[in-house]
Each structure stands twice: as structure tokens, then as C-alpha cells.
Assembly symmetry: C2
Homo-oligomer: 226 residues x 2
DNA sequence: TTTAGTAATGGTAAACGAAACAAAAACACA
DNA sequence: TGTGTTTTTGTTTCGTTTACCATTACTAAA
């Protein structure tokens, strides 16, 4: 029997995804300390003793983004003994889908958005975590229209299709997409149109911000409503 | 800022599912110590410092069942601060699908199979964990034929259908099921038949025990092959 | 007002998959 | 030989997804 008395550290890391500049992007922070000093990492932190994991993820999310009422789901727990060079740190990873318009983030040298298709060198196993969050997002998108979590309050069907294409990483047929989109629950047609410059205006749509039902309690967590 | 210096305990709990006596059953152990003394619980244990989470789950599985090469998948990490009355214990839950014929378990007063539709009072949040493992198993079954993990080496299509019905909790059409089953990759038709007593013999099938591909690395883990 | 350009919009045929449904074949036993 | 029980097999229908273009609606510039 090996030494079983020492305890482990446990952290929560949050992959925060958004659509920005026509690309799927992830929020990264630059590490200021060793290990992996000056490498980019996904935001994270230690779990407080009195705090459940969802709340820890929400706290970290809020510290970085100051947003509320977002899509947040537990992703996977990564526990390789060698994932942290300084000791045993198990991390429970979450991922969040946010609207970039809601964010008040000013990109600095230590915090910023990075396109998921062109990631810088990352600390720890964070690259793997991000890749897995993308896979999970695709799986979710096939089941429910989570993409609206990434879209502005009001959007055109073309914008929505663009979001799908960015996540699914493939082109979709315009008419088929429109047909399916129009039949999804919660999508409401507005009496407003885009005022674009030199082309035909597009109708705007929005999504009913309904309370996500309890059947999905294990993988959907809406933000705390204070 | 609250007290952040103390650490957490982390355990791994494994929901072990099988089909036995025409029912979906889960392996439970009776607790001998407080808290929840004499209540049933799913097998679990502390994660060793040098051990990754998958290996911890495999170790616990092996301690209880002495089986190898089984379907094992990380389920969810439960971290409510109040889930353990004695302190902060975060558990990373796994679930496993095993063939009851492979098991050498002799049910005792402290270890035994229990039908998932008729569970005794359980310790901690273990009821919730089991319920979630059933939900996840159903989700997996809709994607890939994991049910064969629960079946004997050789089985009839009727047995396979029975397994599906037990997991999905609904009756399936015999001919439609057969059609879909026959088209699944990996199912091989044998030149053997059941030697039953007084009815038409049924053809036997088996499943190619192929290495599960790496695309599913995050949710499928085959047992260690020594 | 005309024209050109760009994007939104509406429909249909083919392919595919899901659901419903009945009859014949094989064996054991009486 | 007949009866009972279970396995085995195929077709039709229906709805949904996929593939595929042409027309319309609007803006800006000529």
C-alpha cells in the first residue's frame, strides 16, 4: 500500500467560448507565475471548502467576465497525476457559452480572446480541455439550440447559421437550415429587420429566455439570479 | 474571503451495472462505519496520490468484481459541500457495464446486487448518482451498442432486445429491432443455435471485441490489459 | 427611375430512417 | 400427427432529412 494520507488539490477551470469576429474564440489568461509562466491558460481557481463545484465555476466565470445568466455545464474531471508539475492537482473542467456583446472585457496582455482554430501554446493539459469542450459543444448543438447562447439578443437566421457552421465546422445548406431553425421551439420572429448598408435587410429573430427545465439539471446550469 | 487553506478529500465512486435475473441491477456495499452505517452505497474509495482517476475507478471495480476489460466511463463529479456529513468530500463518479456471467461475486450481507427499479435506502447522494448513470447509459445506447457489454459472450437477438428494453425502459418492436441490430457494426452471426427445451432454437450472435477507437477516449475506457 | 448587386426567401423531388404490421418455420411434447 | 411456443423473415406507410435553384426584395449607385 502506497502513501494514502496526503490530500489532493482540486481546482475548477472554465472554458469560456464566444463568437467574435466571425470566429469561435476562447478566453485565456496569461500565467504570471511558475509553472508555465507566461503561457496562456484557461481561467481557473481553487474550490472553496464551502462552495459547490457549479458555484466555483460561476465565481471564476464572473471574476473574468462579469456576466450573468449564462450557459454553464460541467465538462469532465481531469486527474492525471502528472498534469501539474508541482504536485497533484485534479481539475474539474466546465465550459460556458457567452455572448461577446455582453462582455465588458478589455483585452490586455494578460487576458484575451483567442481563436480556437489557432491557439497559442497552453499551460498544463489545457489544450486537451479546450478540444474536448468543442466536441461537447457540438454534441449539445445536435440536441438543443445552445448556439443562441452565443448570439446577440436579436439575430438573423444567417447569423445563427454562421454560428452553427463555426461550431460544427462545416457548411450547411441555407434553405434546409432555415427550415429546421424555424421549427425549433423558443425561436420567435420579430417585426424588425436589419438596417444594413447595401443589401436586402434580413428579418430579426430572438430566443425566448425560458428557464431550462430540470430534466437537464446535470448538464445545464443557468447563472445565479440575484 | 472565507477559509481557503484546508484541502478537500476526493473519492471515486463506481456505479456497476449488470443484467441479472431479467433485471438491470447495481452492485452495492453495505457501510460498516458511520456516517450512514448499515446503509447501502455504491463502491468507492479515496484516490491515491500517484493514481489517475480512471485507474482509481478500475482499482475499485477490480477490488469488488475481479473483472477485467470492461466498459468504464467517467460520469460526473459531485461536489456539494453538504453531500458528506463529516466534511468536504468531492466524488468523481464513474459507471461500468459488466457481464454478470463474468462475475465471481457471492452475494453476502455486505455486498450484493440490487434492482435499479427497487433500490434500498442509500448513503450520501448515491441515489442521485445511480439515477444519473441510468440516464447516461440510455444516452450511450442511442449512439452505440454498449448493451453487448452486459450480455454473455454469445447471445440471441431476443436477449439483446431484452437488454435494450431494460435499459430504455420501454417495449421495442421485434422486427424493427432485429433489422437495426443486424445492421450494427461488429455484430457477427454464429453458426450456433440455442438448444432450448420446447421451442424453436434461436441463432446465436457475438460481438467483435474490437479496441474502442480513440475518438471516444474521453468517455470510454477499456480495462487495463495486463 | 433604371440598373446592378447582394442577400433573403419559398418549394419539390429523392433518399433515408422510423413505425406499424402478419405469416410461416422449427422444435418439443403429447 | 397434431398442438403449443418461440424464432424468423419482409413490406408498406409515413414522416423527416437531404439535395438542389430560381425568384423576390431591398439598397446604392448610375
Amino acid at each position: 500500500m502506497v502513501n494514502e494520507t496526503k490530500t489532493h488539490e482540486i481546482t475548477v477551470d472554465v472554458v469560456i467560448l464566444t463568437i467574435k469576429n466571425n470566429a469561435l474564440q476562447v478566453l485565456l489568461v496569461k500565467r504570471t507565475n511558475e509553472p508555465f509562466k507566461d503561457k496562456w491558460a484557461i481561467p481557473g481557481g481553487y474550490v472553496r471548502l464551502s462552495e459547490n463545484l457549479d458555484d466555483a465555476a460561476l465565481r471564476i466565470l464572473k471574476e473574468k467576465t462579469a456576466v450573468d445568466n449564462i450557459y454553464l455545464e460541467q465538462l469532465y474531471t481531469f486527474g492525471d497525476p502528472l498534469r501539474h508539475p508541482d504536485g497533484r492537482v485534479i481539475t474539474c473542467a466546465y465550459f460556458a457559452l457567452v455572448r461577446s456583446e455582453d462582455m465588458k472585457i478589455v483585452p490586455t496582455a494578460e487576458l484575451g480572446w483567442h481563436k480556437v482554430i489557432d491557439l497559442p501554446p497552453l499551460a498544463f493539459d489545457h489544450k486537451e480541455i479546450i478540444q474536448y469542450s468543442l466536441k461537447r459543444t457540438r454534441e449539445r448543438l445536435e440536441i438543443c439550440p445552445v448556439a443562441y447562447q452565443l448570439l446577440p439578443e436579436k439575430f438573423t437566421l444567417t447569423e445563427m447559421q454562421k454560428a452553427y457552421e463555426l461550431i460544427m465546422q462545416k457548411k450547411l445548406d441555407k434553405r434546409n437550415f432555415r427550415k429546421k431553425a424555424l421549427s425549433t421551439d423558443g425561436l420567435v420572429e420579430l417585426e424588425e429587420y436589419t438596417k444594413s448598408s447595401s443589401k436586402r435587410p434580413a428579418r430579426l429573430y430572438t430566443f425566448e429566455r425560458i428557464e431550462l427545465n430540470s430534466k437537464r439539471a446535470h448538464f445545464i446550469k443557468k447563472g445565479d439570479k440575484k
